[in-house]
């Protein structure tokens, strides 16, 4: 295995007492103090995450934007400047190559934020599907990072270091702003299910922004938060994680992501296969469940019906907000109705779980 990569904030994380783990080929903070405390901070005040491991692909010029458009499940070419959207990159058989955020920064400037573990794969996928004559497409992952400021106090914290304009920025809108004197693309997006902002900036500016936000935000209850809290928050919000809920063999229809597929006028790779699959009906559906017994169901646990495995848990953790164990699982479509009971195999026990509506919180 090759050496782990580090974000420009690695030393700062260590000084803040972070415990580091491997994720997507990077060495990143798991937690600074406690996952529960950081989770609660994001729900009640705010948390600051370094998610600079995420990849960033740039599209400069209308030709570049148009050339990449058939790869994403929703059209970026048709998106107004200043807006962002969540989309899937699908393969020809209708599986998921990656799930991404697409930004139309300006008329002639778009970019994708992709999962760290998929940067190389996505880049190859992009190069293989865009004619080499098209210029203006660039992998900027090694130059730019990403901070996520998440939680109800986020706007109050950010406006002090940028401008009151952040308050007016609506969900899935983006604008270029100065944050702590550094130029950043600010978007009202996130991966926590809570209000917040994502700040895209040059590597050299990240430490200054991170430290300024922490210093200024501490009076609002802001604290640094790691991947542990990021995972429990996204799970409570039932947001999919690539490699868990999504992969190349899983249909976005099964994952419940149909609203992020433009199956009308936008002709994207995989649309035909997905349309056929929709016609035929999917055999499995992703559901949320709450354990009704003590224990923790983790990714990989089997879902049982009359003792036989019929599905699989893709993510699971104790929910800090609910105080119960929750999870996401693929189950046969006929078992996917909220309110129904399933069983989850945890080691040598079959635990009762109830299928529930998501998000959990």
């Amino acid at each position: 295995m090759s050496a782990l990569k580090r974000t420009p904030l690695y030393e700062l994380h260590r000084r803040l007492g972070a415990r580091m783990i491997e994720f997507g080929g990077f060495e990143l903070p798991l937690q600074y103090s406690s996952i529960r405390e950081e989770h609660a901070a994001v729900r009640e005040a705010a948390g600051l995450f370094d998610v600079s491991h995420m990849g960033q692909f740039e599209f400069e010029g209308l030709a570049a934007i148009a050339a990449a458009d058939p790869l994403a499940s929703r059209s970026v070419a048709a998106l107004e400047p200043g807006r962002a959207l969540y989309a899937l990159l699908c393969n020809e058989k209708g599986g998921v190559v990656d799930d991404i955020l697409c930004y139309r920064v300006a008329e002639a400037h778009a970019f994708w934020c992709v999962n760290a573990s998929n940067i190389e794969k996505d880049w190859s996928w992009l190069r293989a599907h865009v004619p080499s004559s098209v210029s203006g497409i660039r992998d900027a992952s090694a130059e730019r990072g990403l901070l996520a400021l998440q939680g109800p106090a986020s706007a109050s914290i950010l406006e002090r270091l940028s401008s009151p304009a952040v308050r007016a920025l609506r969900r899935f809108r983006c604008a270029r702003m100065d944050v702590a004197g550094c130029s950043a693309l600010v978007s009202r997006t996130g991966y926590t299910g809570v209000d917040g902002f994502e700040l895209y900036a040059r590597h050299g500016d990240l430490a200054r922004m991170f430290e300024a936000l922490l210093a200024d935000g501490s009076s609002f209850g802001l604290r640094p938060a790691g991947l542990g809290a990021r995972d429990t928050l996204r799970l409570e919000a039932a947001l999919p994680l690539y490699g868990h809920e999504l992969d190349e063999d899983t249909s976005p229809l099964a994952a419940g992501l149909e609203r992020f597929l433009d199956l009308g006028a936008h002709r994207f790779i995989g649309a035909d296969a997905i349309a056929s699959a929709r016609e035929a009906g999917v055999a499995q559906r992703l559901v949320g469940f709450v354990l009704e017994e003590r224990g923790v169901a983790r990714a990989g646990c089997a879902v049982l019906d009359a003792g036989k495995p019929v599905g699989k848990v893709t993510s699971g953790a104790p929910s800090p907000t609910l105080g119960k164990s929750i999870g996401l699982a693929y189950v046969p479509t006929e078992m996917a109705r909220p309110g129904g009971m399933i069983q989850v195999a945890v080691r040598d026990r079959a635990l009762r779980a109830r299928v529930v509506e998501t998000p959990f919180v």
Binding site: R14, G17, R19, M20, I21, E22, L30, Q31, S34, I35, R36, G228, D231, T232, R294, G295, V296, R298, A317, P318, P320, R347
Partner: protein, 139 residues
């Protein structure tokens, strides 16, 4: 996740206890042995949310998994530091597993065993040896 020690971890290793390389502590008195996990282990695990305990009367071989401890992020087997019979389990942990985070050497004890063999404690580590093992993991 590897057992890599971070520079900024600061943990307690009381001199009057015995240890295993699996990060359990053992305290012996009156022919009975109390078992828990070390401060290092509870810090590595983070917020502990669930403990699966054996039943009184269960027998375990040395090194056998007698239970499971889960934190928000990780799951780890609890291994019997010595061969023996379970004579008590800390039921309080079922409702308050976080006691292990708070007082791993006190109220956070996990089980009590009656050793099967008289020289059962001979293979365990003293505090200095355990300290050395933990610090070597950072190398």
């Amino acid at each position: 996740m590897g057992q890599k020690v971070e520079d900024n971890l600061d943990f307690e290793i009381p001199d009057d206890l015995l240890y295993t390389s699996d990060d359990e502590w053992v305290s012996a008195e009156d022919g009975c042995v109390t078992v828990g996990v070390t401060d290092f282990a509870q810090q590595q695990l983070g917020d502990i949310v669930y403990v699966e305990l054996p039943s009184v009367g269960d027998h375990f071989a040395e090194g056998a998994a007698f239970g499971v401890i889960e934190s928000v992020k990780a799951v780890s087997d609890l291994n019997a530091p010595i061969a023996g019979e379970v004579i008590a389990v800390n039921d309080e942990l079922v409702n308050q597993p976080e006691t292990i985070n708070e007082e791993c050497y006190g109220d956070g004890w996990i089980i009590k065993l009656r050793p099967s063999e008289e020289d059962a404690l001979d293979g365990l580590l003293d505090a200095d040896s355990y300290r050395k093992i933990v610090s070597e993991r950072s190398a």
